[in-house]
Symmetry: C2
Amino acid sequence: MSKEISQAVIRRMPRYYRYLGELIDEGVERISSNELSARMKVTASQIRQDLNNFGGFGQQGYGYNVQYLYEEIGKIMGLNEQHNIIVIGAGNLGQAIANYVKFEKLGFVIIGLFDVNPKICGRKIRGNPILMLDEIESFMDGHKVDIAALTVPKSEADAVANRLVKLGIHAIWNFAHVDLELLDDNVVVENVHLSDSLMQLSYNIVKSKNDN
Amino acid sequence: MSKEISQAVIRRMPRYYRYLGELIDEGVERISSNELSARMKVTASQIRQDLNNFGGFGQQGYGYNVQYLYEEIGKIMGLNEQHNIIVIGAGNLGQAIANYVKFEKLGFVIIGLFDVNPKICGRKIRGNPILMLDEIESFMDGHKVDIAALTVPKSEADAVANRLVKLGIHAIWNFAHVDLELLDDNVVVENVHLSDSLMQLSYNIVKSKNDN
C-alpha cells in the first residue's frame, strides 16, 4: 500500500469503523452509502469518495457488506495486530488511559505504567503495577512495546521521549502540550493537545453567539 | 465577525497561540513569517495565508508584532473572557481535566465536578468537591456555566448531555466515544475521541513500516 492517502481521509476512518461496529451489533449486514450518509450525517458522495481511496468496497445498487467493510478498515488502520502500549506518567491522565477498557477491545493493550513518584510506585491499575521510570530500560529488554503514551509535564517531554526513542520506541501518543523535538525523524507521533481542543470549542462558542 | 473561516484554519490557531506564547516568554518582540515557519515547521506561505484570514497582522518586511498577534488570536479564540466549566463524570479522566492547571491560565475555570458514585462524593479536586449528579439542577441555578466536559460512559452520554442542554448548557466538550444526539442543534460540541486518535496512530505505524 504505497499510495498516499490524505491524513484528512484517515482521520475520518475511525468514525466509519465505529459506525460499522454499531451496525454489526444491530445485526445489519448490508448498507447503502445513502443509508450510511443519513446515520453519519456526512454526504453519500463523501462516503463513496472516502471509501474509494481504499479501492472501494461497495457494489453499485447493492450497498456495502458491513462486516467486510468493518474488517477491511480495521486492517487498514492496523487493528488486525495487537499493539502493546506503555504509559509514561501515571497521574490521573495516565491512569485514565490505563483504565480505558475500550482500547483493549481495539487491540491496544497496556502492558506497563511508569512514573517518577515513589509514592504511587507499586499501585496496580487493571493488573499493571506502576513502575519507577528508572526501570524502563530493563523493562524494554524483556517486552515488545509498540507505542508509548506520554503524559508527562511539557518540560520533561522531550527528554523522556528521546530516552524512549533510544530504547527503540517507534511510536509516541503524546499528551504533553508541546510538539516533540525528537532525535529520530522516523518516529510516528500522534498528539492529543487538550488545550487546543478547548480553544477550538471556545472559538465555536464565540462564533455561535455572533451568528445567532 | 460574520466571515466564515474554515475549521481547518481554526484548528491551527491554538498552535500559533502556543508558539507565540513561547516567543513572549523568550522576550521576542517581532518575528517574520520565515522565522515562525522554521520554528513551527509549517511553510511561511501557509502562515501568511492563515493569518490573513483574520485581516492579517503583519507588515511586509517588518514581521509580526508577537504580543499583538498573541492577543488578537486570543480574542478570536474567545480567550479574553473567562469560561466556567463543569465536569460530568469524576473518574480518572474527569479528575485529570479538573487537575490540569494549564486550562485555568487560558481562562477555563473548573467550577464543579459531578458523578453518580456516592463513594467519591465530597472528595476535593483542586478545591472543588465532587457533587452528586442529582445536585446539578440546583447548582445550575446559582452558577454561570459555559462549558460542560462530559466524561461519562457512551451509554449514558446522550441522556446526560440532553439533561444539561435542558438546563441551559450551550457547549459540550465530549469525551464519550459517541457522536451526541442532542435535542437542540445550536449546542456547540467539541469531541475528544481518544480511540480515534489511537487508531490514527496505529494507521501511521503500519504506513511507516510499509514505507521503510
